[in-house]
């Protein structure tokens, strides 16, 4: 292990950017992040009304609807992939565990963190945590606690990579031993807060258009978080193969096609289940008559164009082993998730009001700024830690030993 001073110097040197600063991504993202920071300064010095279009009728806007509700759905890949690898023992997905967990963890940090920007009284955010005022009958209480605990679980899942980066051998072994526990805990929490995000809207009955309101909305949110998360994994993998080609291990390259097609299969299956739930809700809730209205057409666009079509694409992708079809399916699915979450939280919310909520450009800039900030941190970590690349040699040498010991004992 390095000395403390050595470690410090190492950390300082790692803060420096790697690669060119003037990439197209940087040129777009930096001005937006700066603008977002300015807008947030105004928001905190002049109140929410200075930059948002929120009203007494529509108290949750783009920051909650897109960053929190949609962003967290996309983070669902982490619990699905860790479940596959550590609980079901599907080792072929092993090479994408770290990138997925990292993505999930950062999504929670930034998107659940975006909640703070939207809170009117953020200095009181500690209240539901320290227990001087537990609102235990609140779905939001549950969601907030699960966000927090899940962030910890996801960090534990990712932490061996940090230890490898810092060269902390003993710590790595301890952290690695926690992985299964963290995964099991994390999957449980994810099931509950993905559905919990849907349950937030249960009491908005009568405010949300009946085509999007359902007593089964927690189940809809949970099931759709599976294919939302996996579609992001597929999409993200495509980008990574271009952007981080040099950082990618051979294992990662070798398994890429199989992984994409395997995930496509899971997407297709869960989307089928989701469609079934939606049709059930439509028929059982006697809402089919609403399909002829303008909102009904919009509903059909979402369900047919962005669930049924990508489901078919995924199915065909598996059949023809076509990566291209799988990736198209993933992109359509992601758009569908954005549509669905915004339809529930914004478009279908108070659909009868004469003055509809439309986000201000400021709200849009902040939303983009949060997303870019997450990508910046993601990129910083990928460029330094063994996320896509192989673990250092010492890790693999060590990994062989306990297995041998266990076999002897058995």
């Amino acid at each position: 292990m390095k000395g403390a001073a050595g470690l410090w110097r190492f950390l300082l040197s790692e803060l420096k950017p790697k690669g060119s600063l003037f990439t197209p991504f940087n040129l777009v993202s930096v001005p937006i992040m700066i603008a977002a920071a300015v807008i947030l300064y105004i928001r905190f010095t002049h109140g929410l009304s200075a930059v948002t279009n929120l009203s007494q009728e529509v108290p949750w806007g783009l920051w909650k609807g897109l960053n929190v509700v949609t962003g967290v759905a996309f983070a669902g890949g982490a619990y699905v992939v860790t479940f596959l690898v550590y609980v079901l023992g599907q080792k072929r997905y092993h090479s994408i565990v770290r990138i997925t967990v990292l993505n999930g963890f950062l999504a929670y940090v930034f998107y659940a963190g975006a909640l703070l920007l939207d809170l009117g009284r953020p200095w009181k955010v500690i209240n539901p945590i320290i227990g001087n005022s537990f609102g235990v009958s609140s779905v939001l209480f549950l969601v907030a606690w699960h966000f927090m605990l899940y962030m910890m679980a996801a960090f534990v899942e990712f932490s061996p990579a940090v230890a490898e980066w810092l060269g902390l051998r003993r710590l790595r072994r301890t952290l690695a031993a926690l992985t299964l526990g963290a995964v099991v805990f994390g999957v449980t929490l994810s099931m509950l807060h993905q559905s919990g995000l849907g349950a937030l809207f249960l009491m908005a009955k009568g405010k949300i258009h009946p085509l999007w309101y359902s007593e089964f909305i927690p189940l809809h949110f949970f099931v759709s978080s599976v294919f939302a998360g996996l579609s992001l994994v597929i999409f993200e993998g495509t980008l990574s193969r271009r952007v981080f080609r040099s950082r990618m291990s051979e294992e990662h390259h070798a398994h890429h096609d199989d992984i994409v097609l395997g995930l496509s299969k899971i997407c297709a299956a869960t989307m089928f289940a989701y469609l079934f739930l939606k049709v059930l809700d439509l028929v059982h809730g006697q809402k089919t008559g609403l399909l002829g209205t303008p909102m009904g057409h919009w509903y059909l666009v979402e369900i047919v164009g962005f669930v049924l079509v990508p489901m078919a694409l995924f199915t065909e992708a598996v059949r023809w082993r076509s990566l291209w079809l799988a990736k198209t399916g993933a992109i359509l699915t992601m758009l569908g998730i954005v549509l669905n979450r915004l339809n529930v939280s914004i478009v279908g919310f108070r659909w009868t009001e004469p003055v509809r909520y439309v986000p201000t450009p400021y709200e849009v800039v902040v939303t983009l700024g949060v997303i870019f900030a997450e990508i910046w941190v993601l990129r910083w970590v990928i460029n330094r830690m063994p996320v896509l690349s192989e673990s250092p040699a010492w890790v693999r040498e060590e990994a062989a030993q306990p297995a041998i010991a266990e076999r002897v004992a058995a």
């Binding site: 809170l119 609102g135 009958s137 609140s138 099991v184 063994p386 673990s391 297995a403």
Partner: protein
């Protein structure tokens, strides 16, 4: 840390997260019979005396043009709107309904919105973090939020909770010149209202708004025309709103206990297989990279 240690932690965390009090405090536990206010819209003249009295009693800015304000706002907790109905103009005072089982209280993750035993639903400044989930959940749009403030508060009628505690009446009731507002125990008010309907069946529709809506509200309304004509939400149902989330919350402890057990079992089963075949199971630290030599 081993599996057992982990399970212990899980148990502790589960106990804190998984045992919510399920319903949103529907029944008064103290045995105090809650108060209510009966509004007889057939008597209301729309004079806005209640609006002025409310502002004075609660330290709100004096209403400049209360007739222009048709919905309660952050600065004007009571609003009288005149509706064109099948029986001519009818004025209706609206404010927070002070539900018997308030959605806002059950929604609030810090218990900032508190249902008092006497009936009023009050907001507690030291608790609230400004998430506005109460506003999403309230079927009557009761809570209003100060968007333009850097220290925003939730503002709404508090049914003069302080005056009630001192044995007084809400300011609006005290200052109504037409006797359209009656203060009393909710049970008594319901009896009064039913009697009025029975005595003058031609004057009133046979419906007390708030008797059963959303499980009952502290504010009760009598009217001569159907309540749809007066802008009352008639699709809110008779189930208390907190029950809409109750079944979800009930399932939480179950998932928290069953899912980990199931998953650990499955993991154990699949990993034992691997011990015999691949021999690489114990160290699960997600070491990146295959077993092959690096080039």
């Amino acid at each position: 840390m081993n599996r057992r240690g982990f399970l212990k932690t899980l148990g502790l965390a589960g106990a804190t997260v998984a045992c919510p009090r399920m319903s949103g405090a529907a029944e008064p536990e103290s045995g105090v019979e809650p108060y209510g206010i009966l509004v007889d819209t057939t008597l209301c003249a729309g004079c806005n005396s209640c609006t002025y009295a409310c502002a004075e009693a609660n330290g709100l800015p004096e209403p400049e043009d209360p007739e222009a304000v048709t919905k309660p706002t952050t600065d004007q907790w009571t609003a009288v709107k005149t509706w064109k109905t099948s029986k001519g103009d009818v004025s209706v005072k609206r404010q927070c309904m002070h539900c018997v089982s308030p959605a806002c209280h059950s929604a609030c993750l810090t218990s900032a919105l508190d249902k008092t035993a006497e009936g009023p639903v009050v907001w507690r400044e030291d608790k609230c973090m400004g998430c506005r989930f109460c506003m999403i959940s309230c079927p009557f749009d009761g809570p209003k939020f100060e968007y333009s403030s850097t220290k925003p508060r939730i503002r709404k009628c508090v049914m003069c909770a302080d005056r009630l505690r001192k044995g007084g009446e809400p300011a609006c009731v005290e200052n109504c010149p037409e006797g359209a507002l009656t203060f009393g125990k909710r049970g008594d008010l319901l009896r009064t209202a039913h009697k009025r309907i029975a005595d003058q069946p031609d004057k009133y529709v046979d419906h007390i708004y708030g008797e059963r809506e959303v499980g009952g509200t502290s504010w009760l309304y009598l009217a001569g025309v159907p309540f749809e004509e007066l802008g009352f939400p008639t699709d809110v149902g008779e189930k208390p709103y907190p029950e809409l989330t109750a079944s979800f919350l009930y399932s939480v402890p179950m998932v928290l206990t069953l899912a980990p057990a199931l998953m650990l079992g499955v993991a154990r089963a699949t990993h034992r297989d691997e011990d015999e075949t691949a021999g690489e199971a114990a160290n699960d630290g997600a070491a990146n990279g295959g077993e092959e030599e690096r080039s």
